[in-house]
């Protein structure tokens, strides 16, 4: 299959652009704050930050409709904020408190929201890929036209179960968008050191799945590609693969010294390709927003993030009785 070019950039209104700027900035500031709270010992264990990749989830959420589902790996804070989950609940889960989305029992890697159709938050690399195909299976079985966004990284893309899921998803025409967030490093192993076929989306061709590569530092390009993928799935012609080229500025997790790449490489991406700066400059040069407008957004975000940190620090630890709850359901949790 010949590689396809990304779909043409859509016309976008000033309000939409501002919303993308705001949503991406929320993720970045939230993650910076999470890093800070980790440093203070308020967040424990593993904590994988999404800084640099914000345009991926914000662009795809712009292509989603109410009722569409999403599922991802352990680098999940950005996905949760982008689909509208409450920053307080996310941050309080990071600190392991009662006010967290999982009452403090899940942590950074395991959060869910039935209300927002966010199905986790999974800690085993690539396990979410068959799960996402299964969510899409359920929608097809029920005969609705919902689409599931199944996110995974370039590292997960080498796991066998991804291809088991591809095979069945195409066999049964499931409405699932497989989103490969290619940030070029699986923990400390670059794509060059892990595969000789680094065009991940093209692997779908072996199963008859269409797809394309997308510039993940450009939120409008991501949105356009997302709309196309969703359209294919809603037309009953899914699945579809989007390989989104992105970059994480921070280490794999908080305890990653990041010696596998140079400081200059990271700095160059930040200086030249930053997705938030790109929208900021579009807003300013296109005179869609003034410096003051953007400052007001910055201030709003800062307040939201500070409030989430305050909530996460002051929400109590879960009651000791919670140790013994939610092991078995007494009735089937109803779908939202």
């Amino acid at each position: 299959m010949a590689p396809r070019k990304s779909a043409k950039k859509p016309n976008v209104s000033a309000d939409e652009l501002k919303a993308y700027y705001r949503d991406m900035l929320l993720i970045r500031r939230f993650e910076e704050k999470a890093g800070q709270l980790y440093g203070m010992g308020l967040i424990g264990g593993f904590c994988h930050l999404y800084i640099g990749q914000e345009a991926v989830v914000v662009g795809l959420e712009a292509a989603a409709e109410e009722g569409d589902k999403r599922i991802t790996s352990y680098r999940d804070h950005g996905h949760m904020l982008a689909c509208g989950m409450d920053p307080n609940g996310v941050m309080a889960e990071l600190t392991g408190r009662e006010g967290g989305y999982s009452k403090g029992k899940g942590g950074s890697m395991h959060m869910f929201s039935k209300e927002k159709h966010f199905y986790g938050g999974h800690g085993i690399v690539a396990a979410q890929v068959p799960l996402g195909a299964g969510l899409a299976f359920a929608d097809k079985y029920k005969g609705n036209d919902r689409v599931t966004f199944t996110y995974f990284g370039d590292g997960a893309a080498n796991q066998g179960q991804v291809y088991e899921a591809y095979n069945m998803a195409e066999l049964w025409n499931l409405p699932v968008v497989f989103v490969i967030e290619n940030n070029q490093y699986a923990m400390g192993t670059s794509t060059k050191r892990s595969t000789h076929s680094p065009s991940y989306w093209e692997r779908g061709a072996a199963y008859g799945i269409k797809g394309e590569e997308v510039d993940g530092m450009d939120v409008l390009a991501v949105k356009a590609a997302g709309q196309k993928a969703v359209e294919v799935c809603r037309a009953g012609e899914g699945p579809y693969i989007l390989e989104i080229k992105t970059y994480r500025y921070r280490g794999h997790s908080m305890s990653d010294p990041a010696k596998y790449r140079t400081r200059e490489e990271v700095q160059k991406m930040r200086d030249e390709r930053d997705p938030i700066e790109a929208v900021r400059s579009m807003l300013l040069t296109g005179k869609h927003a003034s410096e003051e407008d953007l400052k007001a957004i910055d201030k709003e975000i800062k307040d939201i993030v500070n409030e989430s940190a305050e909530f996460a620090k002051t929400s109590p630890e879960p009651a000791v009785e919670e140790l013994w709850t939610d092991i078995y359901a007494t009735e089937v949790p109803q779908e939202a």
Partner: protein, 459 residues
């Protein structure tokens, strides 16, 4: 106001570190994301980035300092309009780091020493009312009837697995189901256990009630991550928001002459996992009644079947909606001298042994656990309090066996009632051999059960 920059924790286990190098000096301005210092943790050298913007007012810890505790102030950051003269380190506001206090130890599970053990309350009601019409049915037919009845009752129930549809089931369990329910609800999968088990779990998250058939549970090892990490743990990890109401089923344990990779009994493995329920029935009525309960259960259920039992016939009640509750053992035979506890195919040895023992004047009470999680330990304890002796029987391996767990429960809850140590009759501690004579030796035998009973009854 001036803000103290604190020594960060940069790994899950870091308590202190070395401030290896400062990359900024007093008077430098920094903004979010700038690297300020290199810090050596217990694992690696890490770069430490600024979070807030401002000017480095004062460096409090010189580079090269070792053993700097986490949350020690290492520098002071000035905000716009402040100067170094404003610094009063005592007054600089440390970002507080209230480290949560250790969780209180729950004493709920610690048994008190010297506690007297009252006889447990046990549900001994019959599985069906007296006078119910019974018919002879094979395990295979009863299992299919159980699934089909639930599929008629609930549209969200579907069956998926290898060869379940057009082939009518590798062991003919799903005979006729494709014809009745169609290919939307009886689904042949490619040979891809890991993938279809994960898809089943995803479909359950999405509101369906999947029955996932493994051609044998030996193949479920390809999928065990999805069973344990995705199906069993999600309800807990989501704080009760979502879980996987579904059934994983298929033959388990040794069949006949299929060698080491097709002959493992997984009862003890799955029984260990909180979040799973585990059924391992013996009789046809239990296959049917427990399968119906399993499909309705809002949790993931491991349903362990046995290929040798598929063709055996038993009495099955002719009732419109016959279900068997989880966690209720069946006492097949009452006795006075010893309690034999088993489940699944193990019941065959228990019955054979009890018959022979009766000839020798030893009266054995025979208990079929039916479900291993929840386990009706009350029924075992009540029986042991009467017989004062217990032998467990299973085909699985000895170390970490189901019998080991039962022994520990009896020891902790009914120690004073025991007149002899509990003996666990298990399969041998070897991979299953192919040769007919060796295979027989590798499994538990009726003679071993008889021998164990004689040992505990000192006969």
């Amino acid at each position: 106001m001036a803000v103290e920059i604190l020594m960060p924790a940069l790994s899950p286990t870091m308590e202190e570190g070395t401030l290896a190098k400062w990359l900024v000096k007093e008077g430098d301005t920094v903004s979010s994301g700038d690297i300020m210092a290199e810090i050596e943790t217990d694992k690696a050298t890490m770069e430490f980035e600024a979070v807030d913007e401002g000017t480095i007012g004062k460096i409090l810890i010189e580079e090269g300092t070792e053993g700097v505790k986490v949350n020690t102030a290492i520098a002071v950051l000035l905000e716009d309009g402040e100067s170094a003269d404003d610094i009063d380190t005592a007054a600089a506001k440390p970002a507080s780091a209230p480290v949560p206090a250790d969780r209180e130890q729950s004493s709920e599970t610690a048994p008190a020493a010297g506690m007297s053990h009252p006889e447990p309350e046990v549900d001994t009601s019959p599985d069906w009312p007296d006078g119910t019409t019974l018919k002879q049915q094979t395990v295979r037919e009863a299992l299919r009837d159980g699934m089909a009845e639930e599929m008629r009752r609930d549209d969200s129930v579907f069956l998926m697995g290898e060869e379940v549809a057009e082939y009518q089931g590798a062991y003919k369990i799903s005979q006729g189901m494709l014809d009745e329910f169609g290919s939307k609800r009886v689904i042949d999968t490619p040979i891809t256990e890991h993938g279809f088990a994960g898809m089943g779990v995803g479909a359950a998250f999405g509101g369906l009630r999947p029955i996932v058939e493994f051609m044998t549970f030996n193949f479920a090892m390809q999928a065990i991550d999805q069973i344990i990490n995705s199906a069993a743990k999600t309800l807990y990890m989501s704080g009760g928001q979502m879980g996987a109401p579904m059934v994983f089923r298929g033959p388990n344990g040794a069949a006949a002459r299929v060698g080491a990779q097709h002959s493992q009994d997984y009862a003890a493995w799955y029984m260990q996992v909180p979040g799973l329920k585990v059924a391992m029935p013996y009789s046809a009525s239990d296959y049917k009644g427990l399968m119906k309960t399993a499909i309705r259960d809002p949790n993931p259920v491991i349903f362990l079947e046995n290929e040798i039992l598929y063709g055996r016939s038993f009495d099955v009640p002719e009732l419109d909606d016959y279900t068997v509750p989880f966690g209720k053992a069946r006492i097949w035979r009452e006795g006075e001298d010893v309690t034999i506890v088993s489940f699944g195919i193990g019941m065959s040895y228990a019955f054979a042994a009890a018959d022979k023992l009766a000839e020798d004047g030893i009266s054995a009470e025979v208990i079929d656990l039916r479900t291993l999680r929840p386990m009706d330990t009350g029924a075992i304890l009540k029986s042991v309090m009467k017989t004062n002796r217990c032998v467990t029987v299973e085909e699985g391996w000895p170390q970490g066996s189901v019998g080991n767990y039962i022994s520990s429960v009896i020891m902790q809850e009914a120690f004073d009632y025991l007149d002899a140590p509990v003996i666990n009759c298990t399969g041998k501690d070897v991979p299953m051999p192919y040769a007919a004579n060796l295979e027989k030796l590798a499994l538990v035998t009726t003679d071993e059960v008889i021998e164990a009973v004689k040992q505990v009854t000192y006969k």
